[in-house]
Symmetry: C2
Subunit: 387 residues, 2 copies
């Protein structure tokens, strides 16, 4: 059986490991420390730094495929590994579009895919021109290195915009501007593509963010026409094929009111299992973590049929304070009240806002699943029920 090396030690690597165990796939992880979320649960843990080529070379040695739980491995190193003969998936030619928002916007626009109006910002003047063109509907973004809403700004006035750009450029942050979209909600269209080019799309989900962090995913996205759902799935397939992505791809979308009803445009790409896909662990025949492994190994992809009419995922983000009630007591209370809730925890210590885990709930209706999942997550975070 093949060996997969995973670069990155967070919860995504951790959850790949549970699927790898069941599939009998051997794994290793490159982790920053022994106590990292994934390092706790891999049999073969290599401590090191993903920005150090020798550490990468050591962990990938003899692996049949190498993949990531984040997009921050320097592309030149990924390329050197490929030159060594290693199978690295997704490949840097694709990954660049998940790493650099400006390159991504350009590439998607070229391919005729819907993206908000955008411009590179290399000077205050660039930003001012864009401000005037869009009537002040401006969202500034660091083209690289942003995550969970870090690296996204909404200046309220032309002056604030100019000052912000001056400051950010002064810090050598590569910048872009894009039109602020008056979106009605956010969606996520996820697909997996293997090296041979097979693609499978999960049903598109609604995702709800809090301060830039995904907090809730609702599958399938409620109140959506079959036609629009299909369009979103096709769009994600086109992105996966157009960019040659292997593994799981999440296409984060804005839904907004167009002239003839709801429309979508692309917000962001992620080339790995994604928070908006955690529901697949309990709501789908093949979870995103299993599918990712199959895809990067170039195995045939699994069925993506749903297991229930509705599945809701709610993240358990560390609260402002960690309640005195120990986590195990909170889990017990949730399990007692809701025998159907699936609790997933990442083995992380408390930090406010930190992704510590999530719950998944299947039910006959979205409303029922959402109410239970929200209440359960609320208890895990706060040791109090929602109402």
């Amino acid at each position: 059986m093949p060996v997969v090396a995973v670069i990155g030690d967070g919860q995504l690597a951790r959850m790949m490991q549970t699927e790898a165990i069941e599939l009998g796939v051997e794994t290793r992880v490159l982790a920053s420390n022994d106590d990292a979320s994934a390092a706790q649960v891999f049999g073969d843990v290599r401590l090191g730094d993903y920005t150090v080529l020798e550490h990468l070379r050591a962990v990938v040695d003899g692996a049949d495929a190498v993949t990531f739980d984040h997009e921050h491995v320097p592309n030149e190193y990924a390329q050197l590994l490929i030159d060594d003969g290693v199978t690295v998936e997704p490949r840097p030619e694709a990954l660049i579009y998940a790493q650099d928002k400006l390159e991504q916007r350009k590439r998607l626009a070229e391919a005729g895919l819907p993206v908000p109006a955008f411009a590179a910002v290399e000077s205050v003047a660039d930003a001012e021109v864009f401000w005037d063109e869009t009537g002040g509907q401006v969202c500034l973004k660091a083209t690289r290195g942003g995550y969970d809403g870090h690296g996204v700004w909404f200046p309220a006035t032309r002056e604030e915009c100019a000052e912000l750009v001056e400051e950010l450029l002064g810090r050598d942050l590569p910048l872009m501007a894009e039109q602020k979209v008056a979106f009605t909600r956010e969606l996520s269209a996820m697909v997996a593509r293997n090296r041979s080019g097979d693609v499978r799309a999960w049903p598109v989900v609604e995702s709800r963010q809090d301060g830039g962090i995904c907090r809730v995913a609702i599958a399938p996205a409620p109140n959506m026409s079959a036609e629009l759902a299909e369009r979103c799935e096709e769009l994600a397939v086109r992105v996966a094929e157009g960019l040659g992505v292997t593994g799981v791809l999440a296409v984060e979308l804005f839904e907004f009111e167009g002239e003839n009803g709801p429309e979508v445009s692309v917000n962001e790409l992620a080339m790995r299992p994604h928070n908006t896909g955690h529901w697949t662990q309990d709501g789908c025949v093949t979870s995103q973590f299993e599918q990712h492994l199959r895809a990067v190994l170039d195995w045939p992809l699994g069925a993506v049929d749903r297991c229930a009419p509705a599945t809701v995922m709610v993240n358990t983000l560390g609260g402002e304070e960690d309640p005195d009630t120990p986590m195990s007591e909170r889990v017990i209370a949730v399990m007692r009240k809701y025998p159907q809730v699936k609790v997933h925890l990442y083995g992380k210590d408390h930090r406010p806002g930190r992704k510590m885990g999530h719950v998944n709930v299947n039910a006959d209706t979205v409303d029922e699943a959402l109410a239970i999942a929200e209440d359960a997550a609320h208890y895990i975070i706060n040791a109090t029920w929602k109402d």
Copy 2:
């Protein structure tokens, strides 16, 4: 979060680990060697021997609960650990009835539960008396140490029976005899019970054995009246409660034609996750492995609703010869033909008859699930399709 120590390094421990990871429960395993099925996938592996008290003491030190993937830990050692203040589940007072078939028969009969006629066999004369009483319908069993049909004999004649008993007693094997049941099929009724006494029963399944090894489990058991299904489930609950079992309990049953239709009697008890419960991984809201962890930690038990109308599990037992086609190629072929098949592999090298893995298939009908699961398992074993 609590720490669970698992004694035993086989596939049952391995599959507990995948659930422990998702629950955020910390684990350790006492393994005989680094390459054992479970040792490959635990972060914390302690090498040692479960018949050596010091090795047991080392792995349980500081654990919140200790459990097993087999029933062979000497009870006096389990008791010493309990005397040390360790939470060992299931407890030796219950475990004895999974270890000693004669004690089990006595206890179940006392409780009024249906078991075949039986007798202790301490001499050839004992066996001959039982032979005559049952009209030669005799099954001889080692009271301890049997597994997968090892330790079960069906002598064809009174003389053969006498010779066998003489030989086995000469080898100091503790023996019993029981009536050979003309069963129409075998069933398995599984429940979990936590330390506080909560019990949940999974739907009773049909199990099909091959040479004493479970090969197929069909959930729910087809062609069974709701009344009999309920009776089986109640019987398993009574056993769990009567014996004070904690964790998962499998009650293996014989179904036979009684005077007023199908009846059942108990064949065997297992106090741990069981082969006939592997279907729950993909066919049930809460798998037997998650439920076992919850039960031994005294957490509330999870819902046992089914995810599909029918789920079939087929073991992939090592064939007479290991095909030249590597295992990964076989898995690929199965995944290509059947995107809905869930492949589970235990990381074991080939040996004829060895439990190497299993497949689970959900479908709308038993026939469909069975046909797919049998074909998929056949390919994984032989690298050829069934027909």
